[in-house]
């Protein structure tokens, strides 16, 4: 996979990668029934998902600013 030369598209790609990683952590934790799974789910999976979503939102805002 190659990152796009376009800044907006590159940010969307990185956001997607973060989200896929977060979803993978989440899926793993669903199959793992130990108490530590809850902690990993929230601290690692949740953090990756929130970062991915925030980067997506940031890419929208920064994209609009560039258009102006």
């Amino acid at each position: 996979m190659k990152l796009s030369a376009n800044r907006l598209e590159r940010r969307l790609q990185v956001s997607g990668i973060l989200l896929i990683l977060g979803l993978l952590v989440e899926a793993t934790c669903l199959l793992w029934t130990r108490p530590i799974a809850f902690v990993v789910f929230l601290c690692v999976g949740g953090l990756l998902l929130v970062l991915g979503v925030l980067l997506y939102l940031f890419s929208l805002v920064s994209g609009n600013q560039q258009e102006r």
Partner: protein, 208 residues
């Protein structure tokens, strides 16, 4: 709550996100922008929300609490074949949901009780992995057991309100309801989890 639907949702989400990652050019069209909003914003938050609910529900399960070795003797104490053992009698007779036995008695039936239980659970995880867990016999409650947790179910129940022992002394029931006399005090329901003498105990081998 089965995890299969959520796993399917996660798989579908990951595939759709993969489309954006490998073909970011699709976001140039109106449809692509809508797809990006759906899969990079809505779906991950939905997965996170449902996953959190799943984990919170799962953390109430008896097997979840007993999955740490420190808790194994407490799990065994639920199978002691002696009706005088409070926890065992409640568990074996389904006076509490057998699948959520620990949580039912050890949560706080007050505002933010569930949240407080989760915070204490996080502390237990920390001690389990990074601290020095005490021996099972040395594990104690943070605070003395509050009658409020017993009264959540027993208050108003005929066996509790009209029980001969409870009414032998007219001052007893008001004192119990006011949490001035503990339900688990000496001479009352004092044997709860007698993990120190499990070696000599007889165990129930009924349907679980």
């Amino acid at each position: 709550m089965s995890s299969t639907p959520l796993l399917l949702l996660i798989a579908v989400s990951a595939v759709l996100i993969g489309v954006i990652v490998f073909r970011p050019g699709v976001t140039a069209t109106a449809g692509g922008k809508m797809l990006a909003f759906f899969v990079l914003f809505l779906l991950p938050l939905v997965c996170l929300g449902i996953g959190t609910t799943y984990h919170i529900d799962n953390s109430k399960r008896t097997e979840f609490c007993l999955s740490c070795h420190e808790m194994e003797p407490f799990g065994k104490s639920l199978l002691v074949d002696d009706p005088a053992h409070l926890a065992a009698a409640h568990y074996q007779n389904h006076r509490i949901p057998a699948g959520e036995a620990c949580y039912t008695c050890h949560t706080t039936y007050a505002m933010f009780g569930g949240f407080r239980a989760k915070m204490q659970g996080l502390k237990h995880v920390y001690v389990h992995y990074l601290g020095t867990p005490p021996a099972p016999e040395a594990i104690r409650l943070y605070d003395p057991y509050n009658n409020r947790e017993c009264l959540h179910c027993h208050l108003g129940a005929r066996s509790f309100e009209e029980g001969a022992v409870h009414n032998a002394d007219p001052d007893l029931l008001p004192a119990v309801k006011a949490n001035k006399v503990s339900c688990v005090s000496s001479g009352c329901h004092e044997v709860v989890h007698d993990v120190a003498s499990l070696k000599n105990a007889k165990f129930w081998k009924g349907a679980l």
